[in-house]
């Protein structure tokens, strides 16, 4: 059964259409990530589900119940914000216990204690329970903030870029931890982010958004391998997909309506200049440690691809390119032809 559903929901703020006719259904125990740039409408969707905003049109359904007209407190959701908002004068324990002690809930202190310890253990902050919230590192504070949502057992957790204020290393750790917790508890999470790595590694399904519209919804592999548009293709992948004019390929396998060709790094094979295929020049090799990017010039277009560690390329080298399984897009940016489809591994 769908835990949360949006049915043809629209929301405008003045002249700005933040969300446009959007339908989305999240299954029980599913981790759905909405991916999109700032202003895509991701946060508005969370706020609509939480009841912090009212849709102009359409309905919000939680556990089979239409909640569009209900106030936030009546909806069974927990919200985790980007900035951890802890009570600085309280200990970690009291911060975690706070949502359970609200007058609306009236839980026995013994039950509260059990829940708090359970969650603290899950988040590896048991030894910090006696600390003041202000005596924690950034990563610990954010774990407490997530924990404060987890002590409750709502129908759905709504998370608005909860990791974005953390440094890269902590973000990577918490990413794994959050996924582990979600899997262990079987919780339903709707998570919004602009970070493609977070989306790829945590999501059961990713919803790619732009300008208030859900452009594509699917598993990370579907979205990456079979994007429905050049926009979606360009949202995922490091280095980003290369989009070049179709005529540059000059091959008869290009579908007639194709205007743009999308080439991911795994679709480009580099060999010595005496081999057949379009000729390109190595512009420079960028050393990023684990990923070394080769910047190529093909006619007047730039291509970026991963360097093969065995292949010793240097600036100025002439190379021959072979393109395998490219993606084709028409004038409007929609994908065309089946040539780009890849089977599942």
């Amino acid at each position: 059964m769908a835990e949360v559903a949006l049915v043809d929901v629209s929301k405008s703020f003045g002249a700005v259409e933040a969300v446009r006719g959007l339908s989305l259904s999240i299954a029980d125990g599913e981790f759905v990530v909405l991916l999109g740039p700032t202003g895509a409408g991701k946060t508005t969707i969370l706020r609509l589900i939480a009841g912090l905003e009212r849709p102009d049109r359409g309905d919000v359904v939680i556990q089979g119940r239409v909640v569009t007209d209900e106030v936030p407190a009546e909806r069974d959701v927990a919200f985790v914000f980007q900035q951890y908002s802890l009570y600085p004068h309280l200990t970690v324990y009291d911060n975690l216990a706070f949502p359970l002690r609200s007058p609306a809930r009236r839980m026995k202190e013994e039950v509260v204690r059990r829940r708090v310890h359970q969650v603290a253990e899950l988040l590896h902050i048991e030894q910090k329970l006696g600390n003041r919230a202000t005596a924690l590192s950034g990563g610990e504070m954010q774990r407490v903030a997530i924990g404060r949502a987890l002590v409750r057992e709502p129908a759905v957790y709504l998370m608005d870029e909860p990791l974005s204020s953390l440094d890269a290393k902590l973000r990577a750790e918490l990413r794994l931890e959050l996924k582990r917790i979600q899997r262990e508890l079987g919780t339903t999470i709707l998570y919004v982010t602009h970070d493609q790595i977070e989306a790829m590694t945590m999501a059961d399904r990713i919803g790619v958004m732009n300008e208030g519209v859900l452009i594509q919804l699917g598993t990370p592999r579907e979205i990456y391998e079979r994007p429905n548009s050049a926009y979606v293709a360009s949202r995922l992948g490091t280095p980003a997909i290369n989009l070049i004019p179709a005529e540059l390929l000059g091959s008869d396998t290009v579908p007639p309506q194709a205007r743009t060709v999308g080439l991911r790094t795994e679709h480009i094979r580099i060999s010595s200049a005496d081999r057949p295929g379009p000729l390109a020049q190595v512009h420079w090799v960028e050393h990023l440690g684990d990923q070394n990017h080769v910047h190529l010039k093909l006619a007047t277009h730039s291509l970026v691809t991963l360097a093969d560690p065995v292949q010793q390329l240097k600036a100025g080298d002439q190379v021959s390119l072979e393109f395998t399984e490219p993606l084709y897009f028409d004038q409007a940016g929609n994908r065309v032809g089946t040539d780009g489809l890849r089977g599942h591994a």
Partner: protein
């Protein structure tokens, strides 16, 4: 253009030592990045360089001249904070020209400098526009323009891209580096984002708890980390460590793990029995059925082109970066092969890397 030199610079706030004897030289025209976690002392180091803090001890030299006690205004250095701080009621021309107007430059000269700067940043077509209506990228460019219009000797930048979307940050990284190459200005840039550092720096200084752990080119730091801290801070995912309890001799070319001999670069020092850590980067790990080094797969993170596989062994967790086309099942037991010429060995107690042919050899093929 300027050379910046810090000699034994330290700073304490009360009883807290924020920076403990830091030494480095930033060459003329180079892009130098100070990288480290929050609280490592990088911002304090930058503020001392700018003249916004006075060091407790040590000297700061700008082109060989001691400027330690000189205030920021007398150093001819531009400090760029978050790039978004623009004056909303002024247009682009007025925003860029503001620092020159404050110094009472003649109008004609202001006009010329502003237009030159705008051309350099490719925003000359926007000069009469209000900043309010600009895209994020153009706003960043205007803010940069305001910093470079004075043509200072050096730029100091404090996480200028911190507030941006990750995707946009990558774009601005490329642009900042390109701008640097065009105006050839000495730049000191601080960040906690290792990818930013790797993408832009000529040299990186990695700081931890007020000390510099290592200074080097991005490639050198990545391939030959001097300490376990550096190995762990650089790389996404970082280096994995395998616990080893052994004694070591000069000339050793392998180390025993669970009875299996694992090949490594030739060792250049003797060590008594103790705890060590064998460090391996994810891209240097592959699956090998016959390998005696075995573990259980506990996670597979799909990244598109590649996937990150986490394997638990008896001696630690190892991450491998494999092609996404390789089928991996969580729960299965796999054998692991480590690329011998790329392994680092650390003293697990001090965290320092041991000398070996990888480290002494300097650049590798």
């Amino acid at each position: 253009m300027a050379e910046i030199k810090l000699e034994n610079v330290a700073k304490t706030f009360g009883s807290f030592a924020a920076v403990k004897r830091v030494d480095f030289t930033v060459d003329h025209g180079s892009f130098f990045v100070i990288l480290g976690p929050s609280g490592c002392g990088k911002t304090t180091t930058l503020r001392m360089t700018a003249g916004l803090e006075l060091p407790t001890s040590g000297r700061i030299l700008l082109d060989g001249e001691d400027v330690t006690a000189r205030p920021a205004s007398a150093r001819d250095i531009a400090f760029v904070f978050q790039l978004f701080a623009l004056y909303p009621h002024m247009n682009v021309r007025q925003n860029i020209g503001f620092p020159l107007r404050c110094q009472n430059f003649p109008r004609a000269e202001i006009r010329r400098s502003v237009e030159e700067t705008a051309k350099l940043l490719r925003i000359d077509h926007l000069l009469e526009r209000r900043v309010g209506g600009l895209s994020g990228g153009d706003r960043q460019r205007v803010a940069l323009g305001r910093a470079i219009v004075r043509r200072p000797k050096a730029f100091l930048m404090d996480e200028p891209l911190g507030a941006l979307d990750s995707e946009f940050r990558r774009l601005m990284c490329g642009e900042l580096r390109e701008l640097h190459d065009r105006i050839d200005a000495t730049t000191v840039y601080i960040t906690h984002d290792q990818l930013e550092a790797m993408a832009m720096a000529d040299r990186i200084a990695i700081m931890n708890q007020g000390r510099v752990e290592q200074i080097g080119t991005p490639q050198a730091i990545y391939d030959r980390p001097a300490t376990m801290f550096v190995a762990d801070f650089i790389g996404a995912p970082p280096m994995s460590f395998i616990d080893v309890q052994t004694s070591l001799r000069r000339g050793d070319r392998s180390v025993r793990i669970d009875g299996a001999a694992v090949e490594m670069p030739e060792l250049f020092e003797d060590r008594a029995e103790g705890k060590f850590a064998l460090g391996v980067r994810p891209e240097n790990v592959s699956f090998a059925d016959a390998s005696p080094l075995r573990g259980r797969v506990i996670g597979a993170e799909y990244l598109g082109t590649t996937q990150i596989i986490t394997v638990v062994t008896a001696n630690g967790q190892i991450k491998a970066r494999l092609s996404s086309s390789e089928a991996v099942r969580v729960g299965e037991t796999v054998g692991l092969a480590l690329r011998p010429d790329r392994l680092s060995l650390f003293d697990a107690t001090s965290g320092q890397a041991l000398h070996s042919s990888l480290y002494e050899g300097g650049s590798r093929g």
